[in-house]
Amino acid sequence: MLYVLGFIFVILGPFLGGLLSGVDRVFSARMQRRQGPPLLQPFADYAKFMQKKAYIINGLQTFLITGHLIFVILAGWILYAGQDILLSIFSLTLSEMFLCMAAFSASAPYSNMSAQRELLQMACTEPMLLMIAIGFYLSSGSFMVTDIVAQKTPAIIHVPGFFLGFLVILVVELRKSPFDVSTSHHAHQEMVKGVTTDITGSLMGIVELSEWYEYFLMFSYVALYFVSSNPLSLLVGILMGCLVMFLMTLIDNTFPRVRWERMLSVCWATTLIFAGGNLLLLTLLKMF
């Protein structure tokens, strides 16, 4: 039964993710007082990408990009199939590693430099990503998603600090300003399209598709904090997911991009203070 839910994610994930991306673009445009593209523009873009011939830089690129897609799907499947959340995070890391390697394999200045920046972004997010899993483990006593959602009280009650820390790295994870140092959704980036500079045509379409999966996966991680054994909590989760996504768009359009040192220190400091503080508090409470 749960496996089926996993496969439903595989099918519906990109549609919902693409929709989220479309909404993001519409809101962004309105915040900048532009008309902006229609809601379904991402899908049209995708269709266009897939029609184009991919000019491949080298033979490694195709399989590295495919790996990127496959492991982000697996990360979502693991979550929805109710499996181990830590494995879902490992799979997500692996998927990003594939994208980095695709950029590295181009052996060109823009690709190479943004691949390194992407690695730095991963270094910024990884402590907190692991902490997410630890937070759920502390609140439910298990890494299994089935056990996490079966709790009487939602995780947010126990681990609000972890949630706050997660919100900060979510900006990095979704490649939003101020933390979009490796590649950006805005045209003014000095890295052009960053890691995807040397990726073209249908391969670019696959990267886009993976990004939708990732969008929806992040949405799901947010929602997971609010879900409990009460069915109504699912609604709260979805609502909060939408709210957080809106918040991300708002942040994206409010803050100017920062330098990498700033990104690193902000991410690590918030992880340490919010998540680490929460962890310390829970441990102390358990002791006494």
């Binding site: 080298n58 399989f63 790996g67 494995l87 181009a106 052996s107 690695l119 402590p127």
Partner: protein
């Protein structure tokens, strides 16, 4: 049967060493040398495996060597010989402090043996239990493979460095001497005997680091010597206190001591932990391991990553039950966790391949040390798993870097740019090695995962934090290296791979082991590690990684394996060698070779992207000193608290 294998494992390497030494150097002995090394390595491996089967089948530890007055005296003579050897070198190179340290460690032990002040020990001096067997397997199999590799390597090494005197017979002999000493150390239960073998490994390491008599090697070899001898002094002090005041002679007796009855046991434990941390190159003693990288690569692979430095963590795991929930345990976990994090940061800022491996070794040993310090069954499970995976993956990495250095003349990571085209076979194996070090679903990550769980369960907040941040920087330095290997430069051709068959004969099995252990780790867990925990803690540990997780991990592995295979099948074009691919974007028109773009004069302009090292932020020059100070502060303060509290 067990007895004779044990004797074989200790003495046979010394015999092989003698034969290899007497064989001398030169082109004509190369064939004979190859046969002898290969044969001896195979025999040692076979003996190690046979021993494992016998002891694991037996279920209970196998003690032997009860009455050993004559051997005690022989060993004392051996210790005296080592001391004289150290004296000789320290006078010759005017480093008197090493002589002083050696005397401080050895003389009290000699006095103890000859005066009989501690009384007669009736306990068996040697014991083979499951932990011993596990370590013997690591030393036997990985060590044997590295010895096989060394024959071809050292030949090329001297071809590249004509200015060094060819002492390769001595070099190979020392490798075997080391193997014998290592087996002795693992089999000894009596601390006196263990100390003897401990000192042999220290001196072996010293001699091998100084192999080429260069100024830098001699300097570094003395660093290694004094740090290890300092650890030896700690070991000797532990023996002295334990024999004189507690009348405990062996480690297994030490584990039986109730610390509420005899609080002095914590002094012994903390001193042993101190000795173990110097041998495992934990901060503030990590400098010797970094310096040790001047030695020829087989030395680095065998002594300084796969086996000798594991002697330290082996000792810690032995005494792990005593560390659980004590101040000594806190000391060990703090140092280990801190080392894991700090060393992984410094690895980011390093471009010399071997130095990165050294930092990474220090860092991973830190994790194992922390696991031992937590002292719970789950954490010891993780620690033992880490020992196994680390030994295999890291020695593979060393051997590959050594082979690449012998072919291209450089071990700098920047020079490995585009290795996937230039040396496809070595690059492939290196990719496996690197993935094995940090990526899911490979072994090291599984062990880290288990470590993380045990840290959370034991409520060690600081360890969890060290682990998550350290894991992030670990990912960074490995991935950056991986990226360099995978870069594809158009029009570049494969260079001639001059790696010897003998080297491949050890690289391929190790690579195979890295891959196989991903599948086999549930079996390793139940067959090798669970028995260790049974004997250490006398309780059943539930499987740390559940079955559904296993299935997903195997699925991940299959996917990873399928991707390149399908890529090869679908595209008939050879990677990077075709002219049909487009050119990458060089921030200008690519002049065709991925190294130049056309500038505004129409001339090709060279452009090259080096990796990102952040030396201004986390370079060794910047953070090494503060890190050493912090860790030394922790160590001294905690030692004072423990010893003061126990007295």
């Amino acid at each position: 049967m067990e007895f004779s294998i044990a004797i074989f494992l200790i003495f046979f390497p010394f015999v092989a060493a003698l034969v290899l030494y007497l064989l001398g150097n030169g082109e004509r002995v190369y064939k004979a040398r190859k046969v002898i090394v290969k044969g001896s390595a195979l025999l040692i491996m076979a003996a190690a495996i046979l021993m494992a089967v016998l002891i694991l089948g037996r279920g209970t530890p196998y003690p032997f060597a009860e009455h050993t007055k004559a051997v005690d005296v022989l060993m004392a003579c051996g210790e005296a010989f080592l001391m004289i050897l150290v004296f000789y070198y320290s006078i010759r190179y005017k480093k008197i402090y090493t002589a002083v340290l050696s005397a401080c460690g050895t003389l009290p032990i000699l006095w103890l043996t000859f005066s009989g002040a501690a009384g007669e020990s009736t306990a068996p001096h040697m014991q083979i239990d499951n932990l011993t067997v596990l370590m013997i397997l690591v030393v036997g199999i990985v060590g044997g493979l590295i010895a096989v590799y060394a024959v071809g390597y050292i030949k090329d090494y001297h071809n590249h460095h004509k200015n060094y005197k060819d002492r390769s017979n001595w070099f190979l002999a020392m490798l075997f001497v080391f193997l014998g000493a290592m087996f002795g150390l693992l089999l000894s239960d009596c601390m006196d005997w263990m100390y003897f073998f401990w000192e042999i490994t220290s001196v072996c390491s010293f001699l091998l680091i100084g192999y080429n008599y260069e100024k830098e090697s001699i300097k570094n070899s003395f660093t290694a010597l004094w740090m290890n001898l300092l650890g030896g002094v700690g070991f000797a002090a532990a023996i002295l206190y334990s024999e004189l005041s507690l009348h405990v002679f062996t480690l297994s007796e030490l584990l039986q001591v109730d610390r509420t009855v005899a609080p002095g046991v914590m002094i012994v434990v903390s001193l042993l932990a101190f000795a173990a941390m110097t041998k495992s190159a934990q901060m503030p003693f990590n400098l010797w391991l970094l310096g040790a990288m001047v030695a020829p690569t087989p030395t680095s692979a065998l002594l300084h990553s796969a086996t000798m430095v594991k002697a330290g963590v082996y000792l810690l795991i032995r005494i792990a039950p005593l560390l659980s929930r004590t101040t000594a345990g806190v000391m060990v976990t703090l140092i280990g966790g801190f080392t894991f994090f700090a060393a992984s940061l410094m690895a980011i800022a390093t471009s010399d391949g071997k130095r990165v491996l050294a930092h990474s070794t220090v860092s991973n040993l830190g994790l194992i040390v922390a696991c031992a310090g937590v002292g719970m069954p789950e954490s010891v499970w993780a620690g033992t798993m880490l020992i196994l995976f680390h030994a295999v993956s890291k020695s593979l990495m060393f051997l590959c870097v050594g082979a690449v250095e012998n072919v291209t003349g450089s071990r700098n990571i920047e020079d490995m740019h585009g290795l996937v085209v230039k040396l496809p076979r070595l690059a492939m194996v290196m990719i496996i090695g690197i993935c094995g070090m940090f990526l899911a679903p490979f072994g090291m990550l599984v062990a880290k995962w288990a470590a993380l769980r045990s840290y959370i369960d034991s409520a060690s907040v600081w360890l969890v934090l060290f682990l998550v941040f350290g894991a992030a920087s670990t990912t960074f330095y490995w991935a950056k290296w991986l990226g360099k290997l995978l870069a594809v430069i158009h029009g570049s051709q494969a260079t001639k791979d001059t790696t010897h068959t003998g080297e491949w004969e050890s690289i391929y099995p190790l690579a195979g082991l890295v891959v196989a252990m991903c599948f086999l780790f549930p079996l390793i867990s139940s067959g090798l590690i669970q028995p260790v925990l049974n004997q250490l803690f006398h309780e059943e540990v539930p499987p740390v990684i559940g079955q559904s997780d296993m299935i997903i991990m195997i699925l991940m592995f299959v996917l990873i394996a399928l991707l390149p295979i399908s890529a090869v099948l679908t595209s008939k074009k050879r990677v990077g060698l075709t002219d049909q691919n487009t050119r990458s974007y060089m921030s200008g028109v690519n002049s065709g070779d991925d190294r130049h773009f056309m500038n505004s004069y129409g001339d090709p302009q060279s452009v090259y992207m080096a990796n990102w090292y952040m030396t201004d932020l986390i370079g060794e020059l910047k953070i090494m000193k503060p890190c050493l100070l912090i860790s030394a502060g922790i160590l001294v303060t905690m030692m004072l608290i423990i010893i003061g509290g126990a007295i």
